[in-house]
Symmetry: none
Subunit: 284 residues, 2 copies
């Protein structure tokens, strides 16, 4: 009765359920239909809740699971649960794995291997986790700002410089607060309430950047932040906050994902400002 190999991922389970659907008894067929139609319920609800929603007895659900070879409902439920998490293949764990194989001596090419791999993960994480609305809100703020001020210090500076570069190719007024000559405070004075501050900052959050953002917030300027997590002080300070989990091997963090996000932002803004723009000559 039980199938040879019991399905351990959702796709397989789906197939098996569909295939055997016609051969099932009335009540089990009813459950099969419910399961395929409501995989979320199957994953998250308790036996009695699912039973109620599917109009069956709780015990039928156990019979259902056993009919497919599982030793109980909970075992089958794992498959439904895995479906909910497997679409983002646990970025954190893969990075952790990278860290753990660090006892092997590092040849030059190994280092490059590790970093390209880590960066690839960071990129796919960026792609999966960035909410479209966030991007659109950011683009809207960028489009409406009278003047855009970009700041980023230390490790964040290359990102800020890049944003400054790309944005200045669109017809927005942009200035980079680069603190040349120790003029941070003076440069920050130029930020007016109708302006936008584009702040890039990572742990351990440069005090200047934080101070300027705080000041900008107080006087009512808009703020877009590119930072490294929900616990960043910029998460609370900003109107739109991009949390970029950057590639990391041991204690070295890359900037690949940030650069990618920055370029994307600029290009989106380009489209937003003029949908017919021919960009061929920009970013030359």
């Amino acid at each position: 009765m039980a199938p040879s190999a019991l399905p351990s991922n959702y796709e397989d389970l789906r197939t098996v359920i569909s295939t055997r659907h016609d051969l099932l008894s009335k009540r089990l067929r009813q459950i099969a239909e419910f399961a395929l139609a409501n995989p979320n319920d199957m994953a998250l609800e308790t036996v009695s809740v699912i039973a109620e929603r599917a109009n069956v007895q709780p015990s039928s659900l156990i019979r259902f699971a056993k009919a497919f070879g599982y030793d109980g409902f909970s075992t089958m439920q794992r498959v439904f649960r895995a479906r909910l998490t497997e679409r983002q293949p646990s970025y954190r764990e893969r990075i952790k794995a990278l860290k753990e194989q660090s006892d092997t001596p590092m040849s030059a090419i190994t280092v490059l291997d590790r970093f390209t791999e880590a960066a690839t993960h960071a990129l796919s994480h960026l792609r999966e986790e960035t909410r479209p609305e966030l991007l659109e809100q950011a683009v809207e703020l960028l489009a409406n700002a009278e003047w855009i001020h970009v700041i980023g210090q230390r490790r964040a500076f290359p990102v800020a410089a890049y944003l400054n570069y790309t944005l200045s190719h669109l017809d927005r007024k942009v200035s980079l607060i680069d603190s040349v000559g120790g003029m941070v405070t003076e440069q920050a004075k130029n930020i007016s309430p109708n302006d936008l501050l584009l702040a890039v900052s990572f742990q351990s959050y440069a005090p200047d950047t934080l101070a300027i953002a705080t000041q900008a917030r107080q006087q009512g300027s808009k703020i877009i932040a590119i930072t490294d997590g929900p616990l960043s002080p910029f998460a609370a300070l900003s109107d739109v906050c991009f949390e970029v989990e950057e590639a990391q091997v041991e204690s070295f963090r890359s900037l690949s994902a940030c650069m990618c996000l920055s370029l994307s932002l600029a290009v989106c803004l380009g489209y937003r400002l003029d949908k017919n723009t021919n960009f061929d000559n920009l970013f030359a």
Copy 2:
């Protein structure tokens, strides 16, 4: 103590947790960090499993939930569970949906999708095409140089700035030729025959960078170039030349691969200089 309205969706909960993070007691803060980093675990595992993974007592999790106004852990867990079902369709589904409505020119998220995809290709290209000897030669030159001068202009500047940042964390003498105050020529005069020039340049090769590289070559300084192809004038000028095929969508070129290479170079150099170095405090 309890907040007025208790968050009923994940985004709100996240915000509340971030905001109150600093005010929480040690153990609760620990849980807050775990929760934000592992929302999947929070959604699907039992109290005791989560407690184990987060290295806290089960009862602490209940205290945590109550601290945020919920009447028990299960109530809070619902919020984490809801996140899994309200999730946006996965990346693949998103793209499929977008391709079908091909009249929509470029939505924000499509742009990001394209660029992350392109950057991923660029990274794997970088890994596959970079010859190990090239990296090792570069590291050797970097290790032996008396002084390292980094130059990059316009689009290449962020890469140069990043190299300057990472290299200056190792005990090498580095300076960035940033042409502040139009002092390019003056800054370039500091390059002596025992020094190394690390030049970053892409089409259409900034004249200043090219001029300085030429001059450096003539006086016998070593040159490492990061550039964009065999046809680059830097290919012939340099001792070691990295040809990075950068991610490109339409006419927009990213810098993800360059940033990755730069970091790798710096880390390799770190290992080369001192194989026992503890890097934990570098690149903070």
